[in-house]
């Protein structure tokens, strides 16, 4: 398998009084262990692209293969299972369940998949330790800072050891120090865990940490630039798993 993500002519049209062409034929190929940053102005279609890559919504036209599996041929149920096991999500709004503690939120994807509670909790604790939050395990989301909440969300995204991590403006609601810490952590996942990260951002500083930066404009890929490895700042902040 050469590419983790393989997209051919992805098109997305939102029907309505006026049809909105969010994506107009996107071709994208991402090899394993790559950090791709998607940039572009508001309404350019970058979030839509991310949602389609995450099997959250189907494209109107085009083909998408994730780890060689053709997504268009999957049922809703199969797509759900694929998301659960092979994709990790990090959202701008963190989207943690307020009713669950940090460790319970992280354990959630495992428990949804039928992993026994004690085992799920153990792996969730390890994931929280990776993001440096072992001391916050039993806190409710409302009792920890925004930066910490986002790190919990990252831990949740990586607890199933997915092949792909999709992050939608993960630093958008964080101050620069907390944002820097989260990005360093994500970079570490790519370098050390060999996971593929696709990240949507407005922030050039965040994009500067990526292996490849894609500019989207009006539903097209405007620019696709790969950066030589030596230009990319090294990962800091993430610890190797115990």
């Amino acid at each position: 398998m050469e590419h983790v993500i393989e997209a051919h002519g992805l098109t997305k049209v939102y029907e309505g009084e006026v049809a909105v062409h969010a994506l107009r034929g996107i071709d994208l190929f991402v090899p394993p262990a790559t950090f791709v940053a998607i940039m572009g102005p508001s309404g350019s279609g970058k979030s839509t692209l991310l949602h389609i890559l995450g099997a959250l919504e189907p494209p109107t036209d085009g083909r998408l293969l994730l780890e060689g599996t053709e997504i268009g041929k999957l049922s809703d149920e199969e797509r759900t299972l694929l998301r659960r096991r092979r994709i990790g999500f990090v959202f701008q709004q963190f989207n943690l369940l307020p009713i669950f503690t940090a460790v319970e939120n992280v354990a959630l994807p495992l428990r949804l998949d039928g992993v026994a509670e004690s085992e799920a909790r153990k792996r969730a604790s390890e994931a929280l330790a990776m993001v440096g939050l072992e001391h916050r395990e039993n806190h409710l989301p409302s009792k920890i800072s925004g930066g910490e909440q986002q790190r919990v969300a990252v831990a949740r995204a990586l607890v199933t050891k997915p092949a792909i991590i999709l992050a939608d403006e993960p630093t958008g609601n964080l101050d620069s120090a907390a944002g820097e810490r989260v990005i360093a952590m994500l970079r570490g996942l790519v370098d050390e865990q060999r996971q593929t990260l696709v990240l949507v951002t407005h922030d050039p500083a965040v994009a500067s940490r990526a292996d490849r930066v894609i500019h989207v404009r009006d539903g097209h890929i405007d620019e696709d630039s790969e950066r030589p490895e030596e230009e990319i700042p090294a990962a800091t902040g993430a610890r190797p798993p115990r």
Binding site: E77, T80, R83, R84, Q93, L97, L108
Partner: protein
Amino acid sequence: MIYFRYAFRELQRHPGRWLISLLSVVIAVAAIVAVSSATVTTRMAYQQVFEALSGRADLEIVAHGGGHFNQGIAEKIREVPGTRAIVPVFHRGTIVYGDDDKAKALAVGFVPDNPESLAGLEIVEGKLPERINEIAIQSSLASALGLKVGSRPRLLTSSGLRTFTVSGIVEPETAARLRQGGMVLARLDGLQRVFRSRDAVDALQILLPEEADAHDAISSYARVLPSELKAQVPSSRSGLAEETLLLTQVSLNMASALSFTTAVFIVLSVFLMSVGERRQQLATMHAVGATRRQIVRMISAEAFLMGIGGTVFGIPLGVYGGSFLIRVMGSLLQTNLPPAPDLRWAIGTGAVVGPAICLLASWFPARRAARVSPLEGMRPVVDMEQRRPRRRTTAIGVIGLALSLLLALGTMRGYLPVFAAIVALIISLVATVLLIPALLGPVVALVGYPLRRVFGLEGEMSQRIVMRRLTRSSLTIGVLLMAVSASIGTGNAVFSITEDVRSWYERTITADFLLRPMMPEMTGEQAASMSESFGKQLSAMQGVKMVDSISMARVDAGGQEAMLVARDFSLYDQVPLDLIGGDPEVVLRKLRDGATVVGSVLAERIGVEPGDTLRIVFGEQSHEFPVAAIATEYTFGGSILSLDREVAKKLLHVEGVNTYLIQARPESIVQLEPKLAALADENGLLLQSFTELWRVINSMVTGVTGGLWVLLALGLVVGGLGVINTLTMNVLEQTREIGMLRAIGMRRRQIVKTVLGQAAVLGVIGVLAGAACGLSLARSINLTLGSTFGRYVPFVMRPEFVALLVIAGLAIVMLAAIFPARRAAQLSPIEAMRQE
């Protein structure tokens, strides 16, 4: 006007939710209108009868217990200073026979040269009777029978059918026109003669000067009266009839109080949810300049609109229900009540109750809405609800529970009127609901354990979501608890009573036919008596196995009015009474030897037990009787004494026969009936067959239980709608979270399970707690009524009924959850996460 426009838009936005509240208000308004119109009608009917009969007398002289006495005492009374006028009272039930038709009537004696004896009556045609064989007849009765001045109808009297000439038509000045029958006016001495009560009167009415004090007068009359007579204020006579009414009215009022409270809770929960949901909107309004008072007005306008809606639909429903209740009460009291209830009263009550429920229930949510800070509108609603129960709420709950316990105890001990029990009932329910937030944590943990076992992670999530919305969950559980406990409480009480009525009839009605001059008067006035020789004639008929002659008399037993029922106990192998304890054979023997059996209500009131003695006074006669046993009685409010007829005749001089009970040989029932019917017709009597009575009782019981089932079903539906409301709100609020869960791989099925799990937690707690509260409610209704009426209706715990309600309750809750659960499962993850 802006308030109403805003309110109207809000109602339009969530039609389903407001429909639920509207339905609960409609039910409450209908219940209250129905009960109050039935109660008012019955009360008015009684009052009219008493006004018509006791006229405007200030005092009356009656025999202890109400028997008749010699009118010669009037001479002595006249000598008491301050006596303005004396009016002799002589009333007998009769049947008037026109040419083709007959009708029940009350024969009223008057004294031609005493103008006061005509008070309240006015002659509209012809003249007053002058000769003893003349009568004046009430206009409605005259037209019903086609009688005119000069007609010659026959009247059923103690000396058989007698012919009279109509000398005139009278009309009561008051609206005392009961369908029960009209009034026939005849000369006192003439009536006394045909009813074989020469010189006897039922009472002497006394008119005092304007300035006279009734209580002073009573003591001055007491000095000249013989011991068997007493002076009293006329209204006290209604006592017997009032008792009969009270039981029914208390139960009906309890039912309407429950529906009122339930409606307040449903409306309260809907408003709290609605205000919670509109927090940002309200904050924005506040920010752009709406004052707190304006916000309160806006919410109140919504409540008012809903109240009006509830009233508009509730009143017609209530009026219809009221006419049904009046029919049921009529058959309970064995009389015809006027069919048209006073609609003004019903409409007035409904018009107040509907808006009152809504305004009362919206008061707290409106205040909460007014306190929203303008800044809150600008930030996302993170966690607006308190997770810990408020101490004040818990404290009020505990105090309420204690207070209701005190009230209930007070009623049970007889220190408080029975209506205090209704107040206690409402307070206890409200208090229980207030305690829910404090108890919810441990209870949810308990219920959640099996749920987690079955549903796993989804069960755990459901449990946490329920706990996160403490107020909303508590209110939903409260509504379910109310609906279920009210259903089980009133249901069980109704079943206990109907069961009791059935078993009472089964044991006491031993005859196949009843023959009597007329239906028993609702006032307990003496019915015309039949001759004893008639009984012999009946016994001689072919196919008759046994004839029991019953004499009835109003007596005084231990200072209380009671109805004495004297019958031939020597005829029976088994005592024909519904005894409470005691060996039936021994009791039967004692009855034949001259002991009495006392009705439970009377026994409780005068405090007698088997083994005591009881003084019974009838007219001038008085005697002490040993009490053989206590028996359940329903007629005459349970104030009944049984004696052997021979004993009553010998010791109390109770004469005449009011009812013949005829037992037929089983093989000849069919042949006997037409013969008896012909005989009854010939003698102007009323024949009732046992099967006919059974039919009446059964249709009554069926009517009551049928109505009950409809109410129960409505109650559960309202509870179910409350669950839909809460879960829909929970789902709406969790839209983003559900979207995220779908994104990270939660299946639609798992989402459905999470929502169903919430319903299961709410349902199990609400329904089971409701069943427990309902059972204790049923028990306390039973105890309260029992101690007040002296009749301990055996408590029938119907496990199959409780189980049915619990299963139906849970089924409705789970059904109600399906809609919000599907809605949640169908959310698209992207759309859901876009929601703010």
